[in-house]
Symmetry: C2
Subunit: 120 residues, 2 copies
Amino acid sequence: MVTVKQARHPGLEEMTLVAVMGALSDPIRVGLVRVLADGRERGWGELRAPVAKSTLSHHLRVLRDAGLTRTRQEGTRCFVELRREDLNARFPGLLEAVLEVARGDDVGAHVGVTDDSNRT
Amino acid sequence: MVTVKQARHPGLEEMTLVAVMGALSDPIRVGLVRVLADGRERGWGELRAPVAKSTLSHHLRVLRDAGLTRTRQEGTRCFVELRREDLNARFPGLLEAVLEVARGDDVGAHVGVTDDSNRT
DNA sequence: TACCTTGTTCGATGTTTTACGAACAGCGAA
DNA sequence: TTCGCTGTTCGTAAAACATCGAACAAGGTA
């Protein structure tokens, strides 16, 4: 019934440093953030990660609950995007610093997107 | 015998983003980092945190293993300090961004030092 | 030497996290 | 309506984590 509980996204004030750090303490999630770092909204199906879909769903929820991403549902499919402006407002400099290191170390390398670019 | 295994500190190359983020995903550890953020070396006994000493020891080890702090042993007591330069070299901007937010949100507020300033 | 102080290590425990496959629910298409 | 596709939720299991008290080890002190 209330299966898709219309995903609640935390407001700026609800985001906590500890939750964000926790969300970014997993390589898969860092990989997802990196994929979304180009600012483009991505379809769930575009995302590739070496885990079962239920696990991927879990990771996306952790990111969303921490306030890192925004999920939009359109009919049957979901789209995810990085809440870059919100993050920069709430945690100035943090996201950029993390992305910079993640890029340099190639953290979350096995996370990617299908080259099936049918959007944007 | 080898109780105090002379604490190994990871070199710059051994530090990982994920480990650092994990280390900073606990309010007590963030509080410890805040306390050390003034650059002063602190004695173990100076640190106050609302946990048992064995737990505090554990948290200090997590921080040390992630490369955030350096521990020095002098006779019977230990001294801890933040590896600020190393962190800035390895993760540019990250520590400052975290400290800034932690200060603003007062993360790890119940962690402090005894005003027993008998050092420096 | 016998004791005390200091911090680590050792279990033990309860909680949280990660992971999977299966079942389910919503939506669109046949 | 009946399928099929998509993503969430559930049940479960394994691993990691936070926490404590007790035991221990190393160094200083009496």
